[in-house]
């Protein structure tokens, strides 16, 4: 078994997540392999077999069992990590709510993949957007370096005594999971030092302080429980910021809850998340070369949604589009678009905002397609007329 001894390496997104997990050395990992997450579980199983980690690795028969085992181990005070994707996450659905409501700081790496039907193993964000109301913190990654860093940060965020909530680290299937990129690793000691020891405030095995988890709550109390959980998630935002800043101070890499790219004087902006944020930056640079005041906004933290940061970044633009890889059938708009719109309304910001759904089921989103979004925004900025709000990029039959 070969250990990585260099700081600068080439790893896939899955490989980077597995390497972070090895360095984190969780007490418990319960996971079930699913494309395109498989390499994470394979690699980690090798680490367990090779004695490189002290983790209790639980081989389960399904994702429902994986997250159930995680809930049990986390409640018992064990640092717990899992990984899944798409149908696997969907199968976990009922337990996701239980993990969050019981304030169990599980870290899950989810490799974003489309949901059936039709069966599709490729990338979009339908899976984790479908879990957006489960009460988990959701962080999206733009590149492989960010996958590695966010997995390590995720432990600190989840386990912070004032957070105590599960965290999903989301990376785009294949585009990141199977793409090898250059990244810089921390040493094992740096990771150990940064995450520290897990000291749960309560645990089921502490017989001196017995607690009940998973009890029933009648109408007299259920509402308060749910509000408390929601309040905790809102409050987690400042902890996400603080952990990222500490990470940045120590290791010179920091991401923020949003990243405003060339937004200072921007008149046109595309708001997006995940690996699309990178391709969008490339397009922004091209428009800037032509003197067009284009910018982009990356949503790193999707739950809790950074309302103020999003509104502040967009307050001066003439036109903006939200670009996302998920569709919300029957809704007034897709999930990220609706959140951005809500954030602007909250903060009293008026912007001409349109929606673009793109890349479902792994359809490639090249720069020339994103260029057309900026061209559309130019038109809106010039005419002042928004026209059609919901748009679909590179969709057959859509004009």
């Amino acid at each position: 078994m070969k250990l990585l001894t260099r700081k600068v390496v080439g790893l896939t997104g899955d490989g980077a997540a597995a390497e972070a997990m090895r360095q984190i050395d969780p007490d418990v990992v319960a996971a079930y392999p699913i494309t395109p997450q498989t390499e994470i579980v394979e690699k980690f199983a090798e680490y367990v077999a090779g004695g490189l980690v002290n983790t209790e690795f639980i081989c389960v028969e399904s994702e429902h069992s994986a997250i159930s085992a995680c809930c049990g181990s986390s409640a018992a005070g064990a640092r717990t990590v899992t990984a899944t994707s798409s149908q696997g996450l969907a199968l976990m659905h009922e337990m996701l709510y239980i993990a969050a409501a019981n304030r169990l700081p599980i870290v899950m790496i989810n490799v974003n993949r489309a949901l059936s039907a039709p069966l599709n193993i490729h990338n979009d964000q339908s899976d984790t957007f479908g879990s957006r109301d489960a009460g988990w913190i959701q962080l999206y990654c733009e590149n492989v370096q960010e996958v590695y860093d966010t997995t390590i940060q995720g432990i600190r965020i989840a386990e912070h005594p004032e957070v105590q909530l599960p965290v999903m680290v989301c990376l785009d299937g294949f585009i990141l999971s199977h793409s090898m990129e250059r990244l810089e690793l921390l040493s094992d000691a740096e990771v150990k030092d940064f995450i520290g020891a897990f000291r749960p405030r309560t645990n089921l095995l502490d017989f001196d302080k017995p607690i009940t988890l998973g009890a029933a709550a009648m109408p007299e109390y259920y509402f308060e429980h749910r509000f408390a959980q929601s309040y905790a998630l809102d409050r987690a935002l400042e902890r996400v910021v603080a952990v990222d800043q500490e990470f940045g101070a120590k290791f010179a890499r920091s991401y923020g809850v949003v990243e405003a790219y060339r937004m200072d004087d921007a008149e046109l902006a595309v708001v997006t998340l995940g690996s699309l944020a990178g391709t969008t930056k490339f397009v922004v640079d091209r428009f800037r070369e032509e003197g067009v005041k284009a910018g982009s906004l990356k949503i790193k933290l999707f739950r809790p949604f950074p309302i103020e940061a999003v509104a502040a970044a967009l307050k001066n633009v003439k036109a903006a589009a939200v670009l996302e890889k998920a569709i919300s059938p029957g809704a007034p708009g897709p999930a990220l678009f609706s959140d951005v719109l809500g954030a602007l309304y909250h903060q009293g910001v008026k912007a001409s905002l349109i929606s673009y759904v793109a890349g479902l089921g792994g359809r490639d989103v090249p720069p020339k397609s994103i260029t057309r979004i900026y061209n559309h925004l130019q038109q809106i900025a010039e005419t002042g007329r928004i026209g059609r709000i919901l748009n679909y990029l590179d969709l057959r039959g859509w004009q």
Binding site: K2, V8, V9, G10, I121, H122, E142, N143, D172, F174, I175, L176, H178, S179, M180, E181, R182, S275, L276, G278, T279, K281, F282, D285, G362, D364, V365, P366, P367, K368
Partner: protein, 188 residues
């Protein structure tokens, strides 16, 4: 895409180590302190079926996360693909093809200024490794054709990556295959 970035598209058949070659070429760029990305085209994977993979190498961090549309270079690991797959599709007018071919490959210039390099990687791998495994020699040929990465960087990266997986004998054979392809590749 820009002068600072080299975009490579790899063509081969399932089982020839196309993805491995695309990744190995990319990670060799570490030695030159360059940035890189390598990713397969995610289609159905079957032994012997045409396979495509991509490598980006750049002197600055790479923001792009999409397929390569207009490659600077195409590398063809299997000569039998030439009549089957349009390997030069969307290759830049100033682009380069590097082909595993025993003779003179059919016209890949299509009336353009594109450069074409050929090397008999099947024969080299057969002689050096005892079996047809054109992926490592084709990296040697590619490095010679595009010049971006030094042969020494490729050698040290190969040893670093495979020294624990391969016996020293196999490492030496692969390095010989890479060196021979580097020396024997010729512009058509």
């Amino acid at each position: 895409m820009s002068n600072k970035m080299l975009e490579i598209r790899w063509h081969g058949r399932g089982g020839q180590g196309v993805v491995l070659a695309s990744r190995f070429m990319a990670s060799s760029a570490i030695r030159e302190n360059l940035y890189f990305q390598a990713f397969p085209f995610f289609g159905p994977e079957r032994l012997g079926a045409p396979v495509v993979a991509f490598t980006r190498i750049s002197n600055e961090p790479i923001n792009l996360h999409c397929a390569i549309e207009e490659p600077d270079v195409v590398v063809v690991l299997d000569p039998s693909l030439l009549g089957v797959v349009k390997v030069t599709q969307n290759l830049k007018a100033s682009g380069t093809s590097v082909v595993n071919h025993a003779g003179i490959p059919q016209d890949l210039k299509n009336g353009t200024q594109r450069r074409v390099f050929a090397v008999d990687a099947d024969r080299i791998s057969r002689e050096e490794l005892g079996r047809v495994m054109p992926n490592t020699p084709m990296v040697g040929a590619l490095v010679k054709a595009v010049g971006l990465i030094g042969l020494e960087s490729v050698f040290s990266e190969f040893e670093e990556q495979f020294s624990q997986r391969f016996k020293p004998e196999l490492i030496r054979q692969n390095l010989n295959a890479i060196r021979r392809a580097y020396e024997e590749v010729r512009e058509v």
